[in-house]
C-alpha cells in the first residue's frame, strides 16, 4: 500500500562518521531509505545503533558525512538560515528526553508562542494566540491555565512530553521524527503519549518516523519497520512481514527479547486507566 503514495523523505548512501583516526566512530553507515507520506515508519535498534544520529541528520542538525537526503522529491537544500527555517516548517521532532528538551530559564509559554511565530503568526492579536495555545493544550489533555507562566521544572515528565506534542499540533509539519518519545517517562503516561501521537497523526495527516528499541511497540503502531544494527539497516518492510517472518538474525534476536508478541498489546486500554 505504501508504494502507491509519494515518497516524501529519502536518502541514498547516508553516512555519519564522528571523529578521526583511532577515535573514529561510524554512527550511521551508508544507508538507503524511502519514507512515504502519511505512513508511520518505525526504526528499531539497540542503544548506540545510530538512531538518534540518523534523526539529527534528517533534521539537518548535524552535517551528513556522505550521501544525499531528498525532501519532497528534491535534493534537500539547507545552506542558509532562511532555507533551514523553511525546511523545519515541514519536518519537526520530539526528542528522547523531555527534561532536557526545555530551556530551563524560559517559561513554557514561549515554546508554544515560538511555534505560532514560526507559522507566521507573529502579528496575530494576543487573544488569538492565547486561543491557539489553549486549543493545542486541550488537544493533549493539558489545561492551558495551569500551564501558563510556569517554568519547565514545575512540570512532570509526562506533561512535558505532552506539551511537546502540543507544539507539533501548532506547527502541523508534514513529517514528525519522534525519537523514543516515551523512553524516559513512566509506563502509564507512555500509553497516553502514544495515543496522542496517533491521534495527532490522524488529525493533521502527517508522516511519523518513530524511533524505538521495542519491537513489540513498533509492530503495533507502524506500517513500515526498519531494523537498524550498528549504523546499518539490516532489514525493512511491512510491519507484519518483518515481525512475523524475520529474515535477519538481528531481527530475530530483537524479537526474542519481546515476551508476548502475539497477544494484543493493550496500550490504548492502559492509557485510559
Amino acid at each position: 500500500m505504501s508504494s502507491k503514495k509519494e515518497v516524501c523523505l529519502s536518502g541514498t548512501g547516508v553516512t555519519k562518521v564522528f571523529g578521526f583516526g583511532s577515535k573514529k566512530t561510524v554512527a550511521v553507515n551508508n544507508i538507503d531509505f524511502q519514507f512515504h507520506s502519511g505512513e508511520l515508519v518505525s526504526i528499531v535498534g539497540e542503544s548506540g545503533s545510530g538512531k538518534t544520529t540518523l534523526i539529527k541528520m534528517l533534521l539537518g542538525l548535524t552535517s551528513v558525512t556522505n550521501g544525499d537526503i531528498f525532501f519532497m522529491g528534491e535534493k534537500r537544500d539547507i545552506s542558509s538560515h532562511r532555507k533551514k527555517k523553511e525546511y523545519w516548517k515541514g519536518i519537526q521532532a520530539i526528542f528522547q528526553d523531555p527534561f532536557s528538551s526545555y530551556n530551563i530559564f524560559s517559561k513554557i509559554d514561549s515554546v508554544l508562542l515560538d511555534c505560532i511565530h514560526m507559522r507566521g503568526g507573529r502579528r496575530l492579536p494576543r487573544e488569538k494566540k492565547l486561543k491557539m495555545m489553549r486549543e493545542a493544550c486541550s488537544f493533549v489533555n493539558l489545561k492551558f491555565d495551569e500551564m501558563t507562566n510556569k517554568y519547565p521544572f514545575e512540570l512532570s515528565g509526562g506533561q512535558m512530553q505532552r506539551l511537546m506534542i502540543a507544539r507539533i499540533f501548532l506547527l502541523k509539519p508534514k513529517i514528525l521524527l519522534a525519537d523514543e518519545p516515551t523512553s524516559m517517562i513512566d509506563a502509564c503516561s507512555r500509553a497516553t503519549i502514544l495515543d496522542m501521537l496517533l491521534k495527532l497523526r490522524d488529525e493533521i495527516n502527517m508522516m511519523i518516523i518513530f524511533i524505538t528499541h521495542d519491537m513489540g511497540l513498533a509492530y503495533y503502531v507502524s506500517d513500515t519497520v526498519y531494523i537498524m544494527e550498528k549504523g546499518k539497516f539490516v532489514e525493512h518492510g511491512n510491519a507484519d512481514e518483518v515481525v512475523l517472518a524475520p529474515k535477519a538474525d538481528y531481527t530475530k534476536k530483537l524479537l526474542s527479547d519481546v515476551p508476548k508478541i502475539h497477544e494484543p498489546w493493550d496500550f490504548r486500554k492502559s492509557g485510559k486507566s
Binding site: 519537526q92 521532532a93 526545555y102 530551556n103 524560559s106 515554546v111 515560538d114 511555534c115 514560526m118
Partner: protein, 418 residues
C-alpha cells in the same frame, strides 16, 4: 534562580567572602570621607615613622593649656624604668656576669632586683679581662646615669629673647603635671605609621585598595568580555573560526601571561602607564583562560536537546547563543569574572613589585607600596607597618574573592556538595 539566591545567602563561604570584600570596598569609600586629605602628601620628614598617635610637643607647652596636678601611684617607677631601656639593662647584666654574679640571680626584667645587684657589685675601678677602655667608659657613664636616675627634678623652660639675646624663664614642669591630650591643638593619628616617603600609610593603603580594585574591575571586565565572546563563538560556531581562536589561545597559553605582561608594560614606558592602561593591559593578557572554559561549556551545551529544539523553532544563531546558551553558563561566567578580578589584582601587585606598574607619582597601588617597602628595605629595618598591612590586604582581597567563588560553585554545581 530565586532558590539559588537563597542558597547563596545561606552559604557560609560565599557570605564570608562577600562580607570581607564589601568591608574593603566600604573602607575605600568611607575612610576618605572621614579622613579627607591627599593620600600622597608627604607629611613625615623621617621615613618609616611607627604607627601611633602623635601630638605637637611645641603646642603642648602652650600657656593657655590648663595644667593639672595628678598624683598617680607608680608613675615615677614607670618613668624611671622607661629611662633605662632594655639594651642598657642587658649591658648591666653582662657586667654582673663577668664580675662573677651567678647567672640565675640576674633577671633584667626585674628592675629593682637588677639595681640592687648593680649597686652591690659595681666598682668602676675593677678591671675585667678582655674589656676595652671604651667599654669601661661606657659602664662608667651608665653607672652615672643609674645613680642619677632617682633624682626627679623639675624641667625648666626658657625662651630665647632675640633683643636681649638672653634666655628668659617661662615655666617649670614638675613630674606630676598633666595636660589633657585634647587640649593640644595639633594631634596626628597614624594608625599604620608612615612609609619611606613620610606618607600616611593608612590613607595611602585605603587609596591603594581603591586603585587595585579598579584595576581588577577593568582587567576582569575586559578579560571576561573578550573571553566570553571568543569562547561562545569558538564553541558554538566551530570550524575554522574555532581553530583560529584556539590557535591564538594556545599561543597565549604557551607564552606565560606574566612574561607577556612584563614585556608589554615595559614597552609602554613609564609615561604611558596609568591605572587604566595597566588595567587594560592585564585584561588583554588574561582572557585565554575564560575563553577556554567558556568554549568547553558551550561545546557540551550546543548539542543539547533544548538547543536543537530552539533551532527547530527557527531561531537565529545570536538569539540561541543569548537565550539558550548564555543563561546556562551565566553562573560560570560570574565565577570566572570573580577569579579574573582576583588574578588581575595579584598581577598588578606582581607588576608593580618589579617597578612596571602604574606611575608612582599619580596613585598608590598595593604593588607599588610593596615595591617601595622593598626598595627601602623595610623588612630589614623592622618597619613591619610598611609591608604587613599591604600583604594582609592583598591576601584578604584574594581570599574573599576565592571564597565567594567557592560558595558560588557549591551552589551552582551541586554535585560538589557532600
Amino acid at each position: 534562580m530565586r532558590n539559588q539566591f537563597r542558597q547563596l545567602i545561606r552559604s557560609g563561604k560565599f557570605m564570608t567572602g562577600f562580607i570581607i570584600f564589601n568591608a574593603l570596598v566600604l573602607l575605600t569609600i568611607f575612610y576618605p570621607i572621614f579622613n579627607p586629605g591627599n593620600p600622597l602628601a608627604m607629611i613625615g620628614f623621617d621615613s618609616f615613622i611607627p604607627p601611633g598617635t602623635y601630638f605637637s610637643l611645641y603646642d603642648s607647652v602652650n600657656p593657655n593649656i590648663h595644667v593639672y596636678t595628678l598624683r598617680i601611684p607608680g608613675a615615677d617607677e614607670a618613668r624611671i624604668q622607661s629611662l633605662l631601656p632594655m639594651d642598657e639593662r642587658e649591658a648591666m647584666g653582662e657586667w654582673l656576669i663577668r664580675e662573677g654574679v651567678p647567672k640565675e640571680q640576674i633577671n633584667i626584667e626585674d628592675f629593682t632586683g637588677l639595681l640592687e645587684l648593680w649597686f652591690a657589685h659595681y666598682n668602676p675601678d675593677i678591671r675585667i679581662d678582655g674589656m676595652t677602655i671604651a667599654d669601661r667608659r661606657f659602664y662608667q657613664r651608665l653607672n652615672a646615669k643609674v645613680e642619677g636616675i632617682f633624682d626627679i627634678v623639675d624641667i625648666h623652660l626658657y625662651t630665647y629673647n632675640n633683643e636681649t639675646e638672653e634666655y628668659e624663664f617661662q615655666a617649670a614642669i614638675s613630674s606630676e603635671d598633666y595636660i589633657r591630650l585634647r587640649d593640644v591643638v595639633n594631634i596626628v593619628r597614624l594608625p599604620l605609621g608612615t612609609d619611606n616617603f613620610g606618607m600616611d600609610m593608612m590613607r595611602k593603603l585605603v587609596s591603594a585598595i581603591g586603585t587595585s580594585l579598579l584595576i581588577g574591575l577593568i582587567a576582569g571586565s575586559i578579560a571576561t568580555v573578550i573571553g566570553l565572546i571568543l569562547g561562545l563563538v569558538a564553541g558554538y560556531v566551530g570550524g575554522i573560526i574555532d581553530e583560529i581562536i584556539m590557535f591564538f589561545s594556545n599561543l597565549f597559553t604557551v607564552i606565560p601571561g606574566f612574561v607577556l605582561l612584563i614585556l608589554i608594560s615595559y614597552s609602554i614606558g613609564q609615561a604611558g602607564r596609568s591605572v587604566t592602561v595597566i588595567g587594560i593591559v592585564i585584561g588583554l593578557t588574561a582572557w585565554v583562560w575564560t575563553t577556554r572554559s567558556v568554549r568547553s561549556q558551550v561545546l557540551s551545551l550546543r548539542h543539547r536537546d533544548h538547543v536543537s529544539l530552539s533551532k527547530l523553532s527557527g531561531h537565529s544563531m545570536p538569539r540561541i547563543i543569548i537565550k539558550d546558551i548564555l543563561p546556562y553558563i551565566a553562573s560560570y561566567v560570574v565565577m570566572a569574572f570573580i577569579l579574573q578580578i582576583s588574578t588581575a589584582i595579584l598581577a598588578e601587585a606582581g607588576l608593580s613589585m618589579l617597578g612596571l606598574g602604574p606611575r608612582t607619582t599619580d596613585v598608590a597601588t598595593l604593588g607599588l607600596m610593596m615595591n617601595w617597602a622593598m626598595v627601602y628595605s623595610a623588612h630589614l629595618t623592622g618597619a613591619w607597618w610598611a609591608y604587613y598591612p599591604v600583604l594582609l590586604v592583598i591576601a584578604l582581597i584574594s581570599f574573599s574573592l576565592n571564597l565567594m567563588n567557592t560558595g558560588l560553585d557549591q551552589v551552582f554545581n551541586p554535585q560538589l556538595r557532600n
